[in-house]
């Protein structure tokens, strides 16, 4: 057998070890969305009990918006809520909420306790979430003026995410 064939196993192994090393930093829970650059799904969600305004696709056409999927039973959503409140206060971008697989009263209580950064909230039993490719909460989508999804953030938003990714993208899309 030729000499170089004996080197094949170690060469393949080094390649594999390289892939392992590179893979150590990857978060296996974050999935890329195939809806990026696609039109946001058509939907029309009813409001939470006691509110007049639900949420429909037409509501955020025409301006750059954030669509935040949240639920009162979701623990990480609490963590990001303060960040959303702060963002809403700057009035740089409207935030719309999709209340995912939740009980209306629980959601109302949660919002009352933690603050309401949302311009409008729609109550979703899960079907609209599927249309958006939602597989967990919280998730946040950035939708541009023409109603196309431009960015998806999986997991709770941090202030760093807002400052480094969301706001610059919003600024770019608003031009």
């Amino acid at each position: 057998m030729r000499r170089w064939l004996y080197l094949l196993p170690v060469a393949v192994f080094v390649l594999m070890a390289g892939v392992f090393y590179a893979g150590l930093g990857i978060d296996t829970d974050v999935l890329p969305s195939p809806l990026i650059d696609e039109a946001a799904p058509q939907f029309d969600l009813p409001p939470l009990p006691g509110s007049r305004n639900g949420l429909a696709t037409a509501d955020f056409k025409g301006a750059v918006s954030l669509v935040n999927v949240f639920a009162s039973w979701c623990v990480p959503c609490r963590a990001e809520h303060a960040v959303l409140n702060a963002l809403a206060a700057t009035k740089k971008v409207p935030i719309y909420g999709i209340n995912y697989k939740d009980k209306g009263e629980a959601a109302n209580a949660w919002i009352a306790a933690l603050g309401d950064p949302y311009t409008r909230i729609g109550a979703d039993d899960g079907r609209v979430g599927i249309e958006w490719g939602v597989y967990g909460v919280p998730e946040t989508f950035l939708v541009d003026r023409s109603g196309h999804i431009r960015y998806k953030h999986v997991g709770p938003l941090t202030q760093a995410d807002i400052d480094k990714t969301i706001l610059p993208l919003v600024a770019r899309l608003q031009q």
Binding site: M1, P9, V10, F13, F20, L24, I26, T28
Partner: protein
């Protein structure tokens, strides 16, 4: 106090390992018999210290010593003693300690039972073993220490994942680890051979018992895990091609190839480089598996909580051990001179084909398991590679292997006659064809896949029996003579017969389970019955029972055939308040040819319960077949040839070996 002893013992084990690495290796290079002779006592001492550490951790669990962080995180006061003890290896740190325990155990075994080995070889083997041991001990002491303290003491621990509270599962990890880690000895033998620059039939004979022992343990461990998931997870499935399952399966596949390849080295002094490479790869796959499970790079039900820092450490260990070994292979393997020549159609050719197919199968599983990671690293795209992929690619490789397993043992060494072999197997062909036809007739034309599966199983079983019958001259001599011949057959050949027959049984079991499982899911009220595959399952009552650390909903079912009561079945759904988790306790009634499997689900709010029933024909054969395979391995292990030692003086064997 005992905890401190355990902790200190680990440190001492590391020190001993350091000595064990340097001294024997140096002594073997220098030809210094005194230094070489230090290896066995060092290995024994290392094992003693590791065992002390392991037992002290076990003691801490048994008495619920919550001053140890590890115990507090994984156990609780209310757990039955058995699960306290098995809780030792239910978590990352404890299972790493089990890992080095097995490493030390095998090292000690080589020290105690390796008297037949030439001292330099044994010294080198133990030295490399100590290198691996030292690596893992450093990892445990610095990145994964089960003896870390917790202050202040909590009143109770976090408890054990309810799904792990099971008698069958309790022993699955030790068995599995004995397998994984046992292959380290084969690895060490391979390294020692490369260092010496010599692989000869004697080497193959010396490495064989260790490989066999590890293989038996791994076969049993995998089968236990599969059986456990079958009766615990409430789904009737027994294999999911989950990355961690694959991580245990790949060493098994290559280990099987190693066992067979070593036969060729022993009998015909050829295929040496191949065999050395297989020995290195088997343990390397164990290490890769350890990495995959504990580093978090792959998503899996089985994975321990992931921690990239741990991952880096294990990757470093893996890189050093496997990278070093493969580099050594690249440099030294060309030195290994081939011996016997053989025709393509021959026993060696058959075993070479066996190597090729098994390696392809293992490579397929490896690629399928790693591809999502590979793609993610390169392109940030995510794909899933699930059971459909493995079913489509693994099975087609196994089919020719199963056919070859039937023919191979009938070929002679050096030059075989394939046509003659097939002629001798006419009966096996007929039986296989018959099995296919019966299946098609009984189960309909679209059970073609199942018919093929059963035909293959029947072929393998019949061919194995034909080979055995030829050896004992069955029907060619008076029955008494044949029987005496059978008893005098070398144990290794009995081992082969049993193991190959076991494989046939497993294939039949797999076929039955994939093709003919029947499910009935229904909302049932007490007093009603459900029809399932000719049986009736009557739900009599549903009540509540209490266990030591759980509350359960328990159903009383009766399995009836017509009016005859076959069995009472009591599936439960248990809720564990401490861990806030639930577990289904499936009720299985088996007649060893098929299982009736019952799961009680949630109440539907109207007085009824979701009852999930399965009829699984041939499924018990999967585990019976695996047990048969492991038995074959054990029988082979007890062959006296393994005790033949290094040539000091001529030995004549009492029983003439039949020309094989």
């Amino acid at each position: 106090m005992i905890d401190e002893i355990g902790h200190f013992a680990l440190v001492l084990a590391l020190c001993i390992a350091a000595v064990q690495i340097v001294v024997p290796l140096y002594g073997a290079a220098r030809g210094d018999a005194t230094l070489v002779a230090m290896a066995p006592p060092a290995a024994l001492a290392q094992f003693l210290f590791i065992a002390t550490a392991f037992l002290s951790l076990m003691h801490a669990y048994a008495v619920s010593d919550f001053s140890l962080l590890n115990v507090a995180a994984n156990s609780s006061v209310a757990k039955p003693l058995l699960y306290k003890i098995t809780g030792v290896w239910s978590n990352h740190e404890g299972s790493m300690l089990l890992w080095v325990f097995m490493l030390g155990l095998f090292g000690a075994a080589v020290a105690l039972f390796g008297g037949n080995l030439p001292p330099e070889l044994r010294a080198r083997v133990l030295s490399v073993q100590a290198m691996i041991g030292a690596g893992f001990l450093v990892y445990i002491l610095f990145a994964s220490n089960p003896f870390l303290r917790l202050d202040p003491l909590p009143a109770d621990g976090n408890g054990l994942n309810p799904i792990l509270e099971d008698r069958g599962l309790a022993f699955h990890p030790p068995c599995l680890y004995a397998g994984y880690v046992g292959f380290s000895i084969s690895f060490c033998f391979a390294i020692a051979a490369l260092i010496e620059g010599r692989v000869d039939p004697a080497w193959a004979r010396w490495v064989r018992p260790w490989t066999l022992a590890a293989w038996c343990a791994l076969t049993t461990g995998i089968a236990m895990g599969s059986w456990w998931s079958y009766y615990t997870l409430g789904w009737g499935g027994w294999w999911y091609w989950d990355p961690v399952e694959n991580a245990s399966f790949m060493p098994w596949i290559i280990g099987t190839a190693l066992l067979h390849s070593a036969i060729v080295v022993e009998k015909r002094d050829t295929l040496k480089a191949w065999t050395i490479l297989l020995a290195i790869l088997t343990f390397s796959l164990s290490l890769i598996g350890t990495f995959l499970v504990r580093s978090g790079v792959l998503t899996s039900v089985h994975a321990f909580a992931s921690d990239p820092l741990r991952g880096v450490f294990i990757l470093a260990l893996l890189g050093t051990a496997t990278g070093g070994a493969l580099l050594l292979f690249a440099i030294r393997a060309p030195v290994l001179q081939g011996g016997g020549l053989f025709a393509p159609i021959s026993r060696e050719g058959g075993l070479l084909l066996n190597n090729l197919l098994l390696t392809t199968a293992a490579a397929t599983v490896l690629i399928g398991t790693l591809y999502p990671l590979f793609l993610d690293v390169l392109t940030h795209q995510k794909v899933s590679v699930g059971p459909p992929f493995f079913d489509m690619t693994f099975v087609p490789v196994m089919v020719p292997l199963l056919v070859a397993m039937g023919v191979g043992p009938l070929l002679s060494w050096k030059r075989g006659d394939l046509v003659a072999a097939f002629q001798r197997l006419k009966l096996a062909f007929a039986i296989a064809a018959g099995a296919a036809l019966v299946t098609l007739a009984a189960a309909g034309a679209d059970s073609l896949g199942a018919a093929c599966g059963l035909a293959l199983a029947a072929w393998l079983l019949a061919a194995t029996i034909v080979e055995w019958a030829e050896r004992v001259h069955l029907f060619a001599e008076p029955l008494g003579r044949s029987l005496r011949r059978a008893l005098r057959l070398p144990r290794a050949s009995w081992g082969m017969t049993l193991a190959h027959a076991g494989m046939a049984v497993v294939v039949a079991g797999i076929t039955g389970s994939s093709a003919w499982s029947v499910e009935r899911v229904a909302d049932v009220r007490p007093g009603e019955a459900v029809e399932l595959a000719g049986y009736r399952v009557a739900l009599d009552a549903v009540g509540e029972v209490r266990g030591p650390d759980y509350v359960a909903t328990r159903a009383d079912l009766r399995l009836l055939k017509g009016d005859r009561l076959i069995a009472a079945m009591h599936p439960e759904k248990r809720f564990f308040p401490l861990e806030k988790g639930s577990q289904t306790d499936v009720a299985i009634r088996t007649n060893l040819a098929a299982d009736v499997y019952a799961v009680i689900g949630d109440p539907d709010g109207k007085g009824g319960y979701t009852l999930r029933l399965y009829y699984n024909p041939l499924v018990p054969w999967i585990w019976l077949g695996a047990a048969l395979m492991a038995l074959g391995g054990l029988v082979s292990l007890s062959d006296r040839r393994h005790r033949v030692g290094a040539p000091r003086r001529a030995r004549r064997e009492a029983v003439a070996q039949p020309a094989e």
